[in-house]
Symmetry: none
Subunit: 195 residues, 4 copies
């Protein structure tokens, strides 16, 4: 994030940017809060209200809802992406790393009311969102799976995309149903991968 954009503009320009970024931060925080409370499909008006800005401001910064969602979760997705290699390095076996990573993924999704649902839907207009998540995480997951296959711990033949979709799906609606523990079921799924 340090050098995220801003190719060295003059001081005034920069301050404007800084201003805008601060505003954007407010937006993202508000959106995150509303997403948690009411799901990713919450009315734009609610998000604007939470942020204390006009709705137009939301639209200026994020032309589509998908853009907003991406922005909201970018940090966490990045962290997730970065966690892959790290876990591989620090875990006893590739399979253990996979398990831990999937757990992180579950932790991410389960707390985002409705995100998992949006992720799998073929709703037009969410392609960007889809693409972003996949572009960023599929390679990471592929890497983990490959390693675990290579170590002989799991069977081959399952694509990262598929596994992630499965994990994502298992997380849908998990929040709020005490009889359903997404993490346990995901555990089953990953266990099913073992040779």
């Amino acid at each position: 994030m340090v050098n995220d954009s801003d190719e060295g503009a003059g001081p005034a320009a920069r301050s404007k940017r800084a201003d805008a970024r601060r505003n954007e931060k407010t937006l993202l925080d508000a959106a995150a809060a509303v997403f948690v409370a009411s799901g990713v499909e919450a009315p734009v008006r609610d998000i604007a209200a939470e942020a204390g800005v006009g709705m137009g401001t939301i639209y200026r910064h994020f032309p589509t809802r998908a853009d907003l969602i991406i922005a909201v979760y970018r940090h966490q997705v990045e962290a997730l992406a970065e966690a892959g290699p790290t876990l591989l390095d620090t875990s006893e076996t590739p399979y253990a790393a996979l398990g831990k990573w999937v757990d992180l993924f579950v932790g991410f999704l389960v707390t985002k009311h409705g995100l998992a649902a949006v992720l799998q839907t073929d709703n037009a207009g969410f392609d960007t969102l889809h693409a972003y998540f996949l572009d960023r995480l599929v390679p990471v997951c592929t890497h983990l799976l490959d390693a675990a296959v290579a170590s002989g711990e799991i069977r081959s033949g399952f694509a990262a995309y598929e596994v992630m979709r499965g994990v994502g799906n298992l997380c849908i609606g998990a929040e709020g149903d005490s009889r359903y523990d997404a993490r346990r079921l995901v555990g089953l799924l990953i266990a099913g991968l073992r040779r």
Copy 2:
């Protein structure tokens, strides 16, 4: 069910009924078609249009959307329920029966665009639907799981509700995504149950 179809009823006495029932069939077919095309949450208007009837007709026959959905899928749910014991009798092991039954379940869900999604949602107004599915199928699934636990093939501790929810979730959005094979993933989940 015995006298459900009125072939052989009094000639005129049943004429209205026959008419209405034929119409109801049209409605169910139309609803099924629309459900496949646009999901179970499709506008009532669309279903009416597809059936070539007025909206009022839908409401007359099915006061709530849940009623309609139940009616549309009743036959298949019943068949599913009845398949459980049969499979247990005719399969080599309880686990094999469980696998086959789950496969049937997946086959059912995968072709019903949006049904799996509705099934897990806590949308108010779908309680009837929920209840119907669970009432009918959870006992069957429980029976299969118990048998497989008893035969020592799978670990214990997973409730039918949870497993079914998991399977259901894995089927969400499966249709139309060629890179995602719900059946395979469900296979993984069930495999994960093995000791």
Copy 3:
């Protein structure tokens, strides 16, 4: 009612009529009951249901709601009309007769949930209803008023139509409001007529 219609038809025709009249009686009773329970604007379907007949039957007998209402209350309106002269004959003074008659009128209206409201509304389609009530009762009321004016008990200058409309209005919504006693207020109105 004795010779209400039926100009001496043949026996068969007559029996048919008798049949129809019995049916019509059922309809009227049902309508009266529903009117009391849900007001004069109750859905036709409800009335049909209460009568245990199809809606079409209602429409056959009473093309418009006004026709039905008239039919339902015809007996009571006739009784009211006939009570006028009688009261005049049997009361101490014309004003007393007027008071008693108005009381009967109030008693009639107050128990007909919504009737008073319909009576004053200029809803198109209720002209028949209006006309019937007025044609039948205005002359009676006029007679009473005239007598009371003649006896010097009340001031002149108020038309029966106006007084009846006033009484009718005071009865609107009386049922079900314990803080509002239509009869008392009507008493005030009639008291106001005194010299």
Copy 4:
């Protein structure tokens, strides 16, 4: 009311508000016009059309129909409320004041097609409206009645609520019926109060 109109507010700070308020004025005028023409129960669409705005605009400003009605008549209700004490001060006797006030009330209601009807109905959703009218006017009327009782001009025992309801009822449907003069009848009612 003091700072209700914003002549003199900060130049730009209030521009939106000014805009919206102007619009609200348009809405109120349109609503008033439609209320006169079609009654207080006119479809929201009609009001929007009359105002030349979208329906959403109505809903933005007035979440419920009752809110709209209240807003439309607030000024007049307030004026009515304030007229009570004034009349008491400036009239020869309390009874005269009562008569004049009731006359104002009649003048108000008679021009509001359907308002009187709504006022007496127990329609759910109009409670706010009811409450507002009663809260504001019953005390005023009570005051007038009490004074007239105290002065020995009228009989006691009639609550303001009841009298107002009576007056209100007498005004229902008055507009457009040349044979019915609500004011005269109300006069009769009030005359009836005299000892």
